[in-house]
C-alpha cells in the first residue's frame, strides 16, 4: 500500500461459523429434527481474522465451499458468527442477491424503485436517481413495461444498475460479475473501478481471477474455512494460480460461452461429434446415429484410470441425456499417455434445435474432474418439428371405427 490506510471499516476477529448440515435432506421438517443421527457438523469458517480499511478493495478467493460466501454474509450482517466477532463501521450496500425478489408483474421502474429502497435509499432519493439507473442499464425505453417481458440479461442489468447507484461507501459483491453479456460486464467493471477510485470500500468474491486482479489491491485466499494466504493482490493470486495448477482450480471461460474446470492431470485435446460414417459433423438428423469422441493426453503419469461423462441439455439447462461411463460397458477407463473415449448413441431421437454438450473426464471415484467442460460445443439437430417436448422418436397414430353400440356411456 502506498498511501496510509483509512479508518477501519470491517474487521473479523478470530471468526468461526459452524453449521449443522441435515444429511437426510429434510431440512425444516419435524422428521429432520428427530433424525439427528444423520447430521453432520461443519465449520464453514475457522479462526478467520482480517481488517479492511476505508477505501480498500479486497478480493476473497478460494475453491467452492472454502467459506468465501459465508464470510461475506457475516460481513453483511446477514447472520452472526458462532465464535469470534465481526465489526462493521459503515452501512453495507451489497450486491449479494442480485435480482432476487424482483416482481414480474411490476414494471421495470417499480422494480428499480423497490430495489433502490431495499439497498438503502429513501423513496424520494430512489425516484431522483431513477433516470441515471435507467440510462446505465440501457433500459430507458422499456422502463414502463412489466418486468416479465424482460430477458434475463435485462433484469440483471437493471438490478446491477440499481445496486451501484445508491452511493455505496461499502459494497459487498458475491459472484455477481459473472452475469450479463461481455460488453455490459465490462461496463460494470469500469463502474466498480471508478467507485474504488472515489474511495468506496469493496469486498468481492469471484471465480474470475482476471476480475479480482483488476478490481482488488488486496486478496485473501480461503481454504477449508481458514485464511491460507493474504496480502497484495498479485502475490496471492500468483500463489493461488500456482497451487491450483495441480488442483481443480476455478472455472475458466471457454471461447464459445462455456466453462471449464478440472485438475488438468488429464486434458481433453479434442471433442468431436461424428456421424454414422465417422465423419465429424456439427449438424445431425434427428434419429440418426451419433458418436461423441473425446481425445485426451495424460499430463500426470500417476493417473491410471478415469471416468468419462457426456450430457446434452437445451438452452434453458434441461438435461435430455446424461451418460457416465459407469452406465455402459466401460466401467473404468484405463489411461495411456494419450487416448480416446467415445460414446455412441445409436438413435439420437431429440427434437430439432441446438443442444449443448457437456463433457468431462473424472477421477475414478468421481470426486474431482480432470477436465470438465460445460457447454463444450453446440450440436444442431435437424428434423421435423414435433411440437413440445425433448424427444422425437418414431411415432405412429392409429384409429379404428365401429358400428353404433347401444348403452355405451360417455367417457367421463
Amino acid at each position: 500500500m502506498t498511501h496510509p490506510p483509512g479508518p477501519l471499516v470491517l474487521s473479523a476477529d478470530r471468526v468461526g461459523k459452524h453449521y449443522r448440515r441435515d444429511m437426510t435432506g429434510r431440512t425444516g421438517s419435524l422428521r429432520g429434527l428427530i433424525e439427528r443421527r444423520s447430521r453432520q457438523d461443519l465449520w464453514a469458517l475457522r479462526d478467520v481474522s482480517m481488517d479492511i480499511h476505508a477505501g480498500e478493495s479486497v478480493g476473497l478467493i478460494g475453491r467452492n465451499g472454502s467459506g468465501k460466501s459465508t464470510l461475506l454474509r457475516l460481513f453483511a450482517g446477514l447472520t452472526v458468527p458462532t465464535t469470534g466477532t465481526i465489526l462493521r463501521a459503515a452501512p453495507v450496500r451489497g450486491l449479494l442477491t442480485l435480482g432476487d425478489g424482483q416482481k414480474g408483474e411490476l414494471t421495470g421502474e417499480e422494480n428499480a424503485l423497490t430495489g433502490a429502497v431495499l439497498a438503502g435509499l429513501t423513496r424520494a432519493e430512489a425516484r431522483r436517481r431513477l433516470p441515471r439507473v435507467a440510462a446505465f442499464a440501457e433500459l430507458e425505453d422499456v422502463l414502463d413495461q412489466p418486468l416479465r417481458t424482460y430477458s434475463d440479461g435485462m433484469r440483471l442489468r437493471l438490478a446491477f444498475a440499481v445496486s451501484v447507484h445508491v452511493d455505496p461507501t461499502l459494497l459487498l459483491i458475491d459472484e455477481v460479475l459473472a452475469v450479463g453479456d461481455v460488453r455490459f460486464q465490462e461496463k460494470c467493471l469500469a463502474h466498480l473501478e471508478a467507485l474504488v477510485e472515489e474511495g468506496c470500500t469493496v469486498v468481492l468474491t469471484s471465480h474470475y481471477l482476471d476480475q479480482v486482479r483488476r478490481l482488488c489491491r488486496q486478496v485473501v485466499w480461503l481454504e477449508q474455512g481458514r485464511v491460507r494466504e493474504a496480502g497484495p493482490a498479485h502475490d496471492v493470486l500468483d500463489s493461488f494460480s500456482a497451487a491450483m495448477g495441480t488442483d481443480v482450480g476455478v472455472p475458466e471461460p471457454l471461447p464459445g460461452g462455456g466453462l471449464r474446470l478440472g485438475t488438468g492431470q488429464v486434458e481433453l485435446t479434442s471433442i468431436d461429434v461424428l456421424d454414422a460414417a465417422g465423419r465429424p459433423v456439427g449438424l445431425v438428423r434427428s434419429g440418426s446415429s451419433v458418436t461423441v469422441r473425446l481425445a485426451y493426453v495424460a499430463r500426470d503419469p500417476s493417473v491410471s484410470h478415469l471416468h468419462a461423462a457426456v450430457s446434452l441439455h437445451d438452452a434453458s439447462g434441461r438435461v435430455a441425456l446424461e451418460i457416465p461411463t459407469e452406465q455402459g460397458d466401460l466401467v473404468r477407463v484405463p489411461v495411456g499417455r494419450s487416448g480416446e473415449v467415445a460414446l455412441t448413441v445409436d438413435r439420437l431421437d431429440l427434437v430439432a434445435g441446438p443442444w449443448h454438450l457437456d463433457v468431462g473426464l473424472f477421477e475414478p471415484q468421481w470426486s474431482r474432474p480432470y477436465d470438465y467442460r460445460w457447454k463444450a460445443l453446440t450440436l444442431f439437430v435437424d428434423g421435423r418439428s414435433t411440437g413440445r417436448g425433448m424427444l422425437s422418436p418414431p411415432v405412429r397414430w392409429g384409429s379404428s371405427s365401429g358400428p353404433d353400440v347401444a348403452g355405451v356411456g360417455r367417457l367421463s
Partner: protein, 266 residues
C-alpha cells in the same frame, strides 16, 4: 448497537426510521399491485371476498338457522372485519421469513420488514372493506361516534397479530410444520371466536373458555365501537390489550434473537 440491530445498521437513527418506513410502504405497495393489477376489477376483489362470506353467513344464520340477532349483517360484518385481518395476518406473518427470503439476504434491511409488510398488506383488505361496512351502518342503525376509536382497536389487533405471528415465524424457519399448524388453528379459531354468534347465547362454562381467547375481546370491542355506540367494558379492553402487549413483547424478543441466524436455516 444492540437496539439498532433490527433497524438498518449504522446510519443515524432518524434516517434509519425514515428508511424503514419507506421500505415498508414500498413493499406493501408492490404487494398490493401484484395482487390486483392484472385483475379486471382490480382491488374490488379485495371487497368482494368478505362480501361473499358475509352474504353466505348472513343467509345461513337469518334464513336457515335464525339466531335472532338484530341487524345481523352488520353484526356479522363488524366481527368478520377484525377476525379476517387477524386470521390472514397471522398466517402471512408466519410465512413471511420463508416467503420473502430475499429480504433477509439484503444487507441493511431491517429483519422486521418482511413481517410488517405482510401484516400491513393484509390490513389493506380490511381498509377496502371498511367503507362498505360504513354504508351498511348508514343504511341501518347509523354510525356511532365511537366508530372513530376503531383505529385504537386495530392497533391492539396489530400488536396481537405481530406478537403471535413473529413467534410462529421463528418456529416456521426451523420447522415448516408451523405454517400448517397456524392455518389449522386459524380455521378452528373462527369457531372459537364469536364472529357469527353472540357470546351471551353460549352456556356459562363455554363463555369463560371463550374469554381466554383475546380475539373474543377484539370482536366484542369492535361491536361496541361500531354497532352499540359505547366504549367497551374494562374487562374487554384488558382482554385484548394485555395479551396484545405481552405477545408483542415476547414475539419481538424471540424474533430478534432467532432472526439473526434465519438465513442459515433457509
Amino acid at each position: 448497537m444492540r437496539a439498532a440491530g433490527l433497524l438498518a445498521g449504522g446510519s443515524p437513527q432518524r434516517r434509519a426510521v425514515r428508511h424503514g418506513l419507506d421500505l415498508v410502504v414500498q413493499l406493501v405497495r408492490d404487494e398490493f399491485q401484484v395482487r390486483y393489477r392484472r385483475a379486471l376489477f382490480g382491488w374490488l376483489w379485495a371487497v368482494a371476498q368478505p362480501l361473499l362470506r358475509l352474504a353466505v353467513l348472513s343467509f345461513v344464520f337469518t334464513q336457515l338457522v335464525p339466531l335472532g340477532v338484530p341487524d345481523y349483517p352488520v353484526f356479522l360484518f363488524s366481527g368478520l372485519l377484525v377476525w379476517s385481518w387477524f386470521a390472514s395476518g397471522v398466517v402471512s406473518v408466519t410465512a413471511s421469513a420463508v416467503q420473502r427470503q430475499d429480504l433477509l439476504l439484503r444487507p441493511g434491511v431491517t429483519r422486521l420488514a418482511g413481517p410488517l409488510a405482510a401484516v400491513l398488506t393484509d390490513l389493506l383488505d380490511l381498509l377496502a372493506a371498511l367503507p362498505v361496512l360504513l354504508v351498511f351502518l348508514l343504511l341501518g342503525p347509523g354510525i356511532p361516534w365511537t366508530a372513530l376509536l376503531l383505529p385504537v382497536l386495530l392497533l391492539a389487533v396489530l400488536a396481537l397479530i405481530l406478537g403471535v405471528g413473529l413467534l410462529c415465524c421463528a418456529v416456521n424457519v426451523r420447522l415448516r410444520d408451523a405454517q400448517q399448524v397456524v392455518s389449522f388453528g386459524v380455521l378452528l379459531g373462527f369457531y372459537l371466536t364469536p364472529v357469527f354468534y353472540q357470546v351471551e347465547t353460549l352456556p356459562e362454562n363455554l363463555q369463560s373458555l371463550l374469554a381466554l381467547n383475546p380475539m373474543t375481546s377484539a370482536v366484542v370491542a369492535s361491536r361496541s365501537l361500531l354497532l352499540e355506540g359505547r366504549l367497551p367494558e374494562l374487562g374487554t379492553v384488558t382482554g385484548i390489550v394485555l395479551p396484545a402487549v405481552v405477545s408483542l413483547m415476547a414475539g419481538l424478543w424471540v424474533y430478534d434473537r432467532t432472526s439473526r441466524t434465519f438465513v442459515d436455516h433457509l
